[in-house]
Each structure stands twice: as structure tokens, then as C-alpha cells.
Amino acid sequence: MTESAGSSTSPANPGQGILEGVRVLDLSSHVSGPFCAKLMADYGADVIKVEQPSLGDVARRSGPFVGDDPHPDKSVQFLYLNSNKRGITLDLTSSSGKAILKELLAKADVLVENFSPVDSKNLGLDYHSLGAVNPELVLTSITPFGQSGPYRDFSATDIITCAMSGLMYHSGDSDRKPLRNVLDQSFYVAGANAAAATLAALFQRLNTGEGQRVEVSIVECLASHLVQAVPYYTYMGAIKGRRPVRGSGFEELMPAKDGYVVPSVQGSQPWPVVAELIGLEELKDERFATGAGRIEHGEELKELLIKGLANWDRKPLFQASGEQRLVFGMAQDAGDLFDCEHLRERGFFVEVDHPVSGKAEYPGMGPKMSAMDFEFRYPAPLLGQHNTEIYCEELGYTPSDLVNLRSGGII
């Protein structure tokens, strides 16, 4: 990686992440816990994904799949969320499985799980039990509603947590239903919240020598986004809603020649710069020059805006806006992003060769850092791929032990 954050200072330990030496057991499935553990893995933690024998992570069974082939190693969600982890299988419901988990725990710094409160208790994953095995362990539990309160045992999928966190009420258009994002965003947000809190607990351990339980509630993570809607109510009794369809069209998705753009009056440039960029003489009218005027003449302005934007393709408009120090946006799909020259130059995409799914360029890490260069150390694991490596080479089981554990359905 050239031109990286490292250009002003080279990484202190090239090829290694800043969480090197941190061992994470990832007992979670689907999105929230796996994303939490993936973030730690991307920062260099040694993450071991622990899956139930034969079935594995539920994400292995959710589409889309590579080549639309519903194969457990071809779910793109699983591939994305579990790269940089090693994988083992273990039946956590069996007594042998529980005993082996204790051995794994002895060397672990973090355990991430997202079972329901009832299931996690039944599996013995409470902090009281696990902390007794390893007092330095940080146990991170992610659930829709947290470990207390009247809804703690309610079931939820992403649409439910988006709704009950307040996010969805504000998503979409005001004259239509609330709208959800397909990409399970509440679970991603919760995973990132969990990673931050888990690492804070690890940092505190440096002073106290003790681990603790980190409890994450998905709805509470997302409710934290409402830094406008909540004070609108607590300060004024006003209920904010979805985006208005009335108004000038600025800061909204508006049609351009080859797709949608977001024209914006924000930034520090006066109105004539905006009008000049869009390139319609009528927009230069004094009536539109102030915020109050744009509100007053919103409908008329929107008509003109639609007329002006119809002459533009998305990207040239976006580029011109940036060069004029305006902050327009453009609607990009996955293909646009994959081909984005800006992300390419920042080295965001990194090729991964997966033994079953083959080669592809994967999205890399969000931030760039001077202290490390991001790399993919492992493609997403096959089910039980690292059983021998972990159980034999690390825990000292013999190959014949492994055969017995396998025939007993333990691994």
C-alpha cells in the first residue's frame, strides 16, 4: 500500500495489526457478533470462530451465494463477516464440548456471543461461570434488547430492531411507510458498538487485572443515533418524521441523467456557486439566495432543480461539486463502488483466495492507520478447517482423540 496513512510515518510493526496478541473466541452467528469479531480480527486480533458441528453459522445458509449456489462456504455474507478468522467446530451443548470450551477459555481474552439470554444461560455462558474459569476474560453478549427489562426474551430480526430503536420511523419518505435497509444495518451497528466496548473493557483490564461482562443491546445502539429526534421531543415536544417530500429537493435524492444525486447547499459556499454549478440561469434568482427564500419558494425551486439536474450525469456533477467546495452526493450501487477510483487509490479492495469460493477482491477495512497496514491473513474458514491446528497443535489432543470427538459429534 502506497499513499496510505502510513505515508507520513511507516508502520511500527509492518504486517501485524495493532491488536496482535489478543485472542478472541467468536461463538456468535449471523451478523452482529461476527461483525464485532471481524473488526477485532481486522485490527490484528487472533479470532477463532467456534461453530456448531455440521450446521455451522446460520449465515452459511443465507443468500446471496457465490454463483447463486447455496453451498455453506459460498454465502457472501458469511465470507465477508468471517474473513481473517480461523474456524473450529464444537458442540457447546455436550459436556465434552463444555469441557473443551474451558480449555479454550484459559487462553482467551475475549468471548463474543449473541445467543438469546435463555440459550446463553442454558449453554453456561454466564459471566459467573466463565469468569470463574478465566477471571481476565471479557465476555461480550449481544442481544436485541439486552439482558434485562420486559423485552429481554423477545425475538427479533433486523426489521424489528430497526423499528423498536426509532431508526425506522425516520427512514424513507414522509408520505409512505417507514423503510428498512436490506443489509441488516442494525446488526452491523451493534457489532461495532460491541467491538468498541469490548476493547474498552480490555483496556481497563490493564489497570485492574480483571475481565468483566460487556452487555450490548441492539436497539439501544441504534437509538443512540437519534441525536436530533430525541432532543426535538425533550426540548420542544416536536416529533421528527421521515424525510419530507415537499421542499426544495436540496439534501434529498433527486433524479439526474444516469441515476440519482443529492444536491446540497451545505458547505461554506454562497448560493451563486450552487446555482452556477447546476448551470440553470433561473436558479440565480435572488429569491433563492437565502435559506428562508429557498423554504418559501421550495416547490418552484424543486422544479428548476429537476430541470437543471437533467443535464448532468452523476459523477461529473459530483466531481465538479467537490472541486467547487460544495458537498453534493450521488447514489452509487455496488458496481460503482467496486470500480471507484478513489477507493482503488486508497487500496481499499484486497484480493482474497478462498478454497471453495475462489478469488475475489473484498472490501477491506474502514479506517486507515499509520501503525498498521490492513491485510487479509485468512479467507473465511471452512467448517472446522482449523480443528487440527487448534485442538492438536495448541491444546495437545492427539489425532485419534480428534477422530473420537468427531464420531461423538463433539467437533
Partner: protein, 467 residues
């Protein structure tokens, strides 16, 4: 507060003893700073009393109590107080070299710097990472920008409402139904809104900071985090990007539907703008769900055999959604939640801010935290959003309200940086520091009635009680 399962609470919070210099503005990084303060860090927010360069959340963002900015308007904005709780305040006019030197002196005795200027601004101030690292070699610094410090778009400004569709999550969101406002359903992306991208940057910054603190403890080295909100946003659409990389698929818009669950959606309830979400995951959910409906008068059709198998439900979603909507329309949103959750089926109301603040679960868990503001603000006691995590051996909560503008000027400059009273006074005289805004007036507000007309707000709650 759930407190500790073992009953033990550490005496110090996780970031006790960590000092943060928070130069950031608006939403994303200020909120990261507020969360660091909740974690126990000493967070010094650098602002200025020159209104032109003041954090805009003090002014134009609002909201103000009863929509009245009042005389001390810069101390009265609700979003500002949400994003800056727990912080102390130092004003510095960073355009001057003397202020830049003072900032460097402050960085010398601090652990973390947060900033979100465009790359050229920090370089112009001589406050880029290379310059600050020269005075504090193990500095951890987060530079949050729209597009990062490298690449062809690095000098482009950005804001979350335009970034959200730009970084691709919007492509995975859209209505299936025809639009009343002329948007074609098949090619119209949409937005989650609420400055969604800002908060992805907040969580990313916090994770990077915590990882960097662990790294610094182990190696003695600092870290510079080049946080491009665009790139972070794309990482939240990673599985969609990978679907393109493998399969060439560019989008996956399906309204509120799900690829394998049906019924799955957002359904109208009794009352205006009242909605409930329902997700029938599998056959077990379906059996429970259909039994709930079947006992109701006029809903026997739910037992039709074409709905028995998952594929049948997916292939007959329009008809199924009609039946479900017809049923939910006769129910309250909490009623639907109660009856379906009792049957084990995921369901829950679409809550707005009032709904959250009054919801029994959020109240039981003490999610919203009351803060008593100083009398100068006229704010009294208000409730603020808490956080998504609880640490069993800590009692994390908002430590104090945001300080008044420049409240700790003397404290920071004297106690931390060793300036004399005379030196501090001369800084005031040349307007490098100050506690009263210069050059501005209270922001204009739009009446709440007009806001409802414009669609900025849905309604004004007549029974609103300041919480």
C-alpha cells in the same frame, strides 16, 4: 443500570486518566468524544467564541427549549448537549499562531486528539499529525473526513446526508410500491437518514481509539487514524459489494420484504402513522402466526394451504401482506407486539422519539439519562440518550452536562499549561479566547406550526412535558 453480576464496581472508569483534545465539530467526532467522556476520559472540547467558526450544533442545528434560542442561545441547543455531554470547554481561535502554539502545548500533555477538518485546514494550522506527533510522539489522533487524507477526492468536503447514498448503503434500500411523488420504484434508492453515516464514523473512531490505546500500552507507539466516512460507509455495505465482485449484482432492493422470510414487513395499525413490524422466519413462526390470526373473525383464509410452505408464502406475498395489513389495521402497535411475541413470533412497534422515551423497556433499563443543567442555560433537567453497551463492573453514565463556552479557559490554561493570570487576560484582550460570542446573533427559528406544514416535523405533542 443492570450493575454487576458479582456486585463489584471498579473505582475508576475504563478511561480514567486519559486526556482527549476534541477539536471536532458537528455530529460524528463530537459524539465519539462524548462517549469517551462517558467512559471516564477527560475530554476538552476546543471551540471558539467567534460565532462564524463556532460549532454549528450550538447554533443552527438546535433544537432550543420550546423553540426559543433565548439570550444565551449558544448554551441551549439540545443536539449540542447530547453530543458534548461530559466535556470541559476551552475556547481558542486557531487562526492565530499563538493559539496554535497553545494547542500544541495542550497536545503535549494529552493522549488523544479528535478532529474533522478537511485535510488542508489542519495543514494550514500546522496541526496535522506529523506536527502534533513532534510534540507528543505516542499521540493517538483521529482525523475524520468525508473521503480521507489520500486519493483523488481527499479535499472534497462532505456531509452525512449526501454521503449515505454515495457510499452505497442507499442502493440496498427502496420502496417496491409506486411512488406518490414520481420516483420509479425499480431504480430509486433511498436513505435511512438521521445522518446515518456520521454514527458509523462515531463507532469506528471509538473502536480505533480503544485498539490504539491497547497498542500504545503494549508498544509505546501512537497511531494516526485516517477515517474516511465514505470508505467506512462502504465497509457497512460489504456483503453487497462482495455480491457484485462474485456475481455482478449491483443492488438488492425489496422494500421491507426479505429474501427468505414471509410475511415480513411494516404494517399499518390503528391510529395515524402507527406501524408495526413483523418477521415470520420459518414454519414454526408461521404456525404460531397463522393460529393467532385464524381465531379472529374473517381471517380464516390465513390457513389456506398455499401459505403452508415457505415458497408458497414467498410466492403469494402480495395476498399475504393484504391479509396481515387488514388484521394489523384493527390493532394497536403494542397489541400486535404482545400477542405475537407471546406466540414466539418476532414483532415490534415502529417507535418515534416519544415512543422510545415512554416505552416500558427503555424506561426499565434506564436508557435515557437525566442531566441537570446550570441555571445560566435555563434548560433545567433534561433526558438524553445513553449508550448501547453496559460494562458489568462499571456504572457508566453521563458524568456532567457540557460545560459553558470557555468555562474551563482559566483552569486549562493555568493549571495544565502554566499560564499566569496576566497572560490569560492578554489572550482575552486580543480575542484569542473568550466566553461570550462575538459577531453573531441568535439563529432564526422556524415556528413549530410552520415546521409541521413543511414536513420537517410530523406533529407537535400538545401534552408535551419537558422530561
Amino acid at each position: 443500570m443492570t450493575g454487576s453480576e458479582s456486585g463489584q464496581i471498579f473505582k475508576k472508569r475504563p478511561l480514567d486518566g486519559i486526556r482527549v483534545v476534541d477539536l471536532s465539530r458537528v455530529f460524528a467526532m463530537p459524539f465519539a468524544g462524548a462517549n469517551l467522556a462517558d467512559f471516564g476520559a477527560e475530554v476538552i472540547k476546543i471551540d471558539t467564541h467567534h460565532t462564524q467558526f463556532m460549532d454549528t450544533t450550538r447554533t443552527i442545528t438546535g433544537p432550543f427549549p420550546d423553540n426559543d434560542p433565548g439570550e444565551a442561545y449558544w448554551e441551549r441547543a439540545g443536539t449540542f448537549h447530547t453530543l458534548n455531554r461530559g466535556k470541559t470547554s476551552l475556547t481558542l481561535d486557531l487562526r492565530s499562531e499563538a493559539a496554535q502554539d497553545l494547542l500544541k502545548d495542550l497536545v503535549r500533555v494529552s493522549d488523544i486528539v479528535l478532529e474533522n477538518f478537511t485535510p488542508r485546514v489542519m495543514a494550514r494550522f500546522g496541526l496535522d499529525y506529523a506536527s502534533l506527533r513532534a510534540v507528543r510522539p505516542d499521540l493517538i489522533m483521529v482525523s475524520n473526513t468525508g473521503y480521507g487524507h489520500s486519493g483523488p477526492w481527499s479535499n472534497f468536503g462532505a456531509m452525512a446526508s449526501a454521503l449515505e447514498p454515495t457510499h452505497g448503503t442507499g442502493a440496498f434500500m427502496g420502496y417496491l410500491e409506486d411512488s406518490p411523488n414520481g420516483r420509479a420504484p425499480e431504480d430509486a434508492p433511498n436513505k435511512m437518514g438521521n445522518s446515518y453515516t456520521d454514527f458509523l464514523a462515531t463507532w469506528t473512531a471509538l473502536t480505533a481509539i480503544m485498539a490504539s490505546l491497547l497498542y500504545r500500552a503494549r508498544t509505546g507507539q501512537g497511531n494516526w487514524v485516517d477515517l474516511a466516512m465514505y470508505q467506512v460507509g462502504v465497509s457497512y455495505a460489504g456483503e453487497g459489494i462482495l455480491d457484485y465482485a462474485f456475481n455482478g449484482r449491483r443492488t438488492r432492493r425489496m422494500g421491507n420484504r426479505h429474501q427468505s422470510m414471509a410475511p415480513h414487513g411494516c404494517y399499518p395499525c390503528q391510529g395515524e402513522n402507527q406501524w408495526v413490524t413483523i418477521a415470520v422466519r420459518d414454519d414454526a413462526d408461521w404456525r404460531a402466526f397463522s393460529q393467532v390470526l385464524a381465531v379472529e373473525e374473517g381471517f380464516g383464509g390465513i390457513l389456506d394451504e398455499k401459505f403452508e410452505e415457505p415458497l408458497g408464502r414467498l410466492n403469494n406475498q402480495d395476498e399475504l401482506d393484504d391479509i396481515v395489513s387488514r388484521w394489523t389495521s384493527t390493532q394497536g402497535q403494542y397489541q400486535v407486539m404482545e400477542v405475537l411475541q407471546k406466540a414466539g413470533v418476532p414483532a415490534g412497534p415502529v417507535l418515534n422519539a416519544r415512543g422510545l422515551l415512554t416505552d416500558p423497556h427503555f424506561r426499565d433499563r434506564g436508557y435515557f439519562e437525566a442531566v441537570e443543567h446550570p441555571p445560566e442555560t435555563g434548560l433545567g433537567r433534561r433526558e438524553y440518550i445513553g449508550r448501547g453497551w453496559r460494562l458489568s463492573k462499571n456504572d457508566l453514565s453521563i458524568t456532567k452536562p457540557a460545560s459553558l463556552l470557555g468555562e474551563e479557559n482559566d483552569l486549562v490554561l493555568h493549571q495544565l499549561l502554566g499560564l499566569t493570570e496576566a497572560q490569560i487576560q492578554s489572550l482575552e484582550q486580543v480575542d484569542l479566547i473568550g466566553k461570550t460570542p462575538v459577531g453573531g446573533t441568535a439563529p432564526a427559528t422556524v415556528s413549530l406550526e410552520r415546521q409541521v406544514e413543511l414536513g420537517w416535523t410530523v406533529e407537535r405533542d400538545p401534552d408535551f412535558l419537558p422530561r
